[in-house]
């Protein structure tokens, strides 16, 4: 058939035409803009309006930021130099950065200690957060709280060592006794730990030298963003295990445990955090005799941990409830006991479902740590609202200081949220 036409046409192309570039308005940035910014008249209008709005905001803020002063000694000096021009007076950050980060009482020459603790935090957190890493790095994570305590508070190295030995004794007692039954293991470990701490306390009191290797810093001297980070990290890491225990306890078939958990969760969730903080700072002072000065930092950590663990417990309960009943039955039919089926089947799935909720609470909790400023602890916001704005030099600087605080919090919270998204992708086992 093809022969019939072979001589009747002048030219037959035998190869494919090389692809020519798409028309200008159907590819590249122009197409993208047409598709995304100017698809319809309404879209185009909105785009223009948004651009104009962006322009207004940037035109007002950029010169203010770029023209900012960094080296003056007071707000009055800034104003003198600016002569009525609108620009930021960042000098307050230059002069008070150390107070914003560490509080106004932490000794200058010791800033390296919390700094080092902060850097080590990444090494300690990495094996927990990125579980593809070798398991043996977890050993450092276990040691980290004691190292960080010693670095930040200083004092005798014996106290963190005694604390560590106490925990180890508790763990050994638990693993020895738990084979008989769980309650024996639990109470045995508590008793063992307290015996070690009690004896250790006496030894530390007797042996500790007057001049320890690291100078001791009392809790009252902690402050600034360091305090927010310490409270945030401590309370989140304590409240997740506690929250899991509470969530499981609430589902327990033992009425006593169930009701203790229910009452605890409902009571704590029914009380505002700020009330708990006032109880920690004000009321407990009435309960304890004046000499028995329970550390304010510890009191606040206990209160915030209680608060967030109640919320996390409810999030995890949601995860547990979302699992089909068949999963529980599967665990039972394999002959696993309660602990095994929870550890191997139920919790890994329930926690995966709960990740967004837990992260949400962690972010909220981290920001809530600024509430301690109302009980006269000088965290980042407390430093700004109290000492810095009350100094004769800097009274009246608001945007620069609060903007800086917002930036620090944003960096941390955005980091947490990015991590949780990675974690969700990493754990995704469904096929979407």
């Amino acid at each position: 058939m093809s022969d019939t036409h072979a001589h009747s046409v002048a030219f037959v192309r035998e190869t494919a035409i090389p692809p020519s570039p798409a028309p200008v308005n159907a590819a590249g940035p122009i197409k993208w803009m047409r598709d995304n910014l100017f698809a319809t008249w309404a879209n185009a209008l909105l785009t223009v309006a948004a651009l104009y709005f962006l322009y207004i905001v940037l035109a007002a803020t950029l010169p203010w930021i770029v023209g900012g002063l960094w080296t003056t000694g007071s707000l009055a000096e800034c104003r003198e130099i600016l002569q009525g021009k609108s620009a930021a007076c960042f000098s307050v950050l230059t002069e008070r950065w150390n107070q914003l980060l560490f509080g106004f009482k932490y000794p200058d020459e010791l800033y390296w200690r919390p700094g080092l603790a902060f850097v080590l935090l990444f090494f300690a957190a990495a094996p927990v957060l990125f579980f593809d890493m070798p398991r043996k790095f977890l050993a450092f994570t276990v040691l980290y709280p004691f190292i960080a305590y010693w670095l930040i508070w200083g004092g005798s190295i014996l106290s963190p060592i005694v604390a560590l030995v106490g925990f180890s004794a508790g763990y050994v007692a638990y693993s020895k006794l738990v084979t008989r039954n769980f309650a024996a293991g639990f109470f045995g470990s508590v008793v063992a730990a307290f015996v070690v701490w009690f004896i250790g306390g006496y030894i530390v009191g007797a042996v500790a030298s007057e001049n320890p290797m690291l100078e001791a810093v009392p809790s009252r001297d902690l402050g600034g963003f360091m305090l927010n980070l310490m409270l945030g990290v401590t309370c989140v890491s304590l409240s997740i295990p506690l929250g899991i225990a509470l969530a499981l306890g609430r589902q327990s078939s033992m009425p006593l445990i169930k009701w203790i958990c229910v009452i605890f969760i409902e009571f704590i969730r029914g009380v505002p955090l700020i009330t708990l903080l006032f109880v920690a700072s004000v009321m407990l002072a009435y309960f304890f005799p004046p000499e028995a000065n329970v550390d304010l930092f510890l009191r606040v950590v206990i209160m915030i941990t209680m608060f967030s663990s109640a919320y996390i417990a409810e999030v995890i309960r949601g995860g547990l409830a979302a699992l089909p009943k068949g999963q529980y039955e599967a665990g039972d039919s394999l002959g696993l006991d309660y602990a095994q089926s929870m550890r191997l089947i139920i919790l890994p799935q329930a926690l995966k479902i709960s990740i967004p909720g837990i992260v949400n609470i962690a972010v909220g909790l981290f920001k809530d740590t600024t509430l301690v400023s109302v009980i006269s602890m000088f965290d980042l916001v407390g430093m700004i609202r109290g000492p810095i704005l009350a100094s004769t030099d800097w009274n009246g600087v608001y945007w620069e200081l609060l903007g800086f605080a917002a930036l620090l919090f944003f960096v941390v919270c955005y980091g947490i949220s990015q991590y949780s998204q990675w974690l969700e992708r990493r754990l995704a086992t469904d096929h979407r």
Partner: protein, 338 residues
């Protein structure tokens, strides 16, 4: 278990309350430090500087007491307290003295069981207006919008004053002094009212302080003073007479510059008694004979403290006014040292 700990602690607290009430002086000496409650930050009255050292008008009282009792003006542990935590901290024994611009009122003195030991600053509620408003007296403020901090005595004073003068106003409730500054500058209210010292220090932070003025009317009495716990009168005496020593020193012309000279070669018997070259006033208080000398050396006499922290040379620029010596028409009047 938790419950029994709290109950046990309550019992112990109850038992020790009686013992803790007495002998604050011994506690301070044993501790080697005075625990002094101050505000978390108020311009001119107390705030830590860039090196973390506390400075200010109220802070100077703490330093003087520490110097009188311990001989060292730096032996003070400052406990920053908010308006909400200050009284519980004092009642619970966390602090020995509260010097936190606290108004002396009957209910605080009697019902809360504290002892005000004197007045270190006579304040009163005033009004600040922009000059362009063209107002020269608070009586012209009929119909004005007024920025006012909620939940303070200033709110009640304001209502009383306007009602007494039969004029109307519209309140703009605000929470903090910082917020008030912003609202007032943004024109959300015509008038800002709070303690006159607070108005002056607020105005000092404005870009153009000259565009705003304080009206002459002062509509309330706010005597601000240090206070101690009820029940330990010996300790109350020490704090009271330390403050009196600072005031008397100004009246008698003793300053931190000439104090050593005065102590040696004075002919005025009251100066000699005050500085311990004569008599045994220090011994009566349970202190060393040079207690008042140490207190005055800590940061100067009352006038010097005033000038350094809030006086006319500072950005806050407060005039002495009611806080001048009685000989200059003010209210400062120390009982005699005899």
């Amino acid at each position: 278990m938790n419950k029994s700990v709290i109950l046990g602690a309550l019992t112990i607290a109850g038992l020790s309350a009686g013992a803790a009430a007495a002998a604050t002086l011994d506690d301070v000496k044993e501790r080697g430090k005075l625990n002094c409650g101050v505000t978390t930050g108020l311009v001119g009255f107390s705030a830590p500087d860039a090196n973390g050292e506390w400075k200010g008008f109220d802070v100077a009282v703490c330093r003087a007491v520490a110097a009188a009792v311990l001989g060292d003006a730096m032996a003070v542990e400052f406990v920053p307290l908010t308006g909400k935590t200050r009284f519980t901290a004092l009642a619970a024994g966390e602090i020995d003295v509260l010097a936190r611009n606290t108004t002396w009122t009957l209910s605080r003195d009697v019902d809360l069981k504290f002892d005000f030991i004197g007045v270190n600053y006579y304040d009163g509620q005033g009004f600040m207006v922009p000059k362009e408003l063209g107002v020269s007296s608070a009586k012209d403020l009929d119909g004005a919008t007024v920025c006012i901090q909620t939940g303070t005595t200033t709110e009640l004073n304001l209502a009383d004053y306007f009602r007494a003068n039969n004029i109307s106003y519209e309140p703009v409730p605000i929470e903090t002094n910082g917020e008030a500054q912003q609202q007032y500058l943004a024109g959300a209210c015509d008038v800002y009212t709070t303690d006159a010292s607070g108005l002056a220090s607020t105005r000092a932070t404005f870009e153009a302080p000259g565009d705003h003025m304080l009206l002459p009317e002062i509509v309330s009495k706010e005597p601000l003073g240090p206070l101690v716990r009820h029940g330990d009168n010996d300790w109350g005496d020490i704090v009271r007479w330390t403050l009196n020593a600072l005031i008397a020193a100004e009246e008698l012309g003793i300053s931190s510059a000439n104090i050593n000279e005065m102590a040696e070669s004075t002919t005025n018997p009251e100066v000699a008694r005050l500085l311990g070259s004569e008599g045994n006033l220090g011994e009566m208080l349970g202190l060393s004979s040079d207690w008042a000398k140490n207190a005055i050396l800590a940061s100067g006499n009352y006038g010097e403290i005033f000038a350094k922290n809030i006086g006319e040379e500072t950005p806050i620029g407060l005039a002495r006014g009611l806080n001048a010596q009685w000989t200059n028409g003010g209210l400062l009047y120390s009982p005699p040292f005899r």
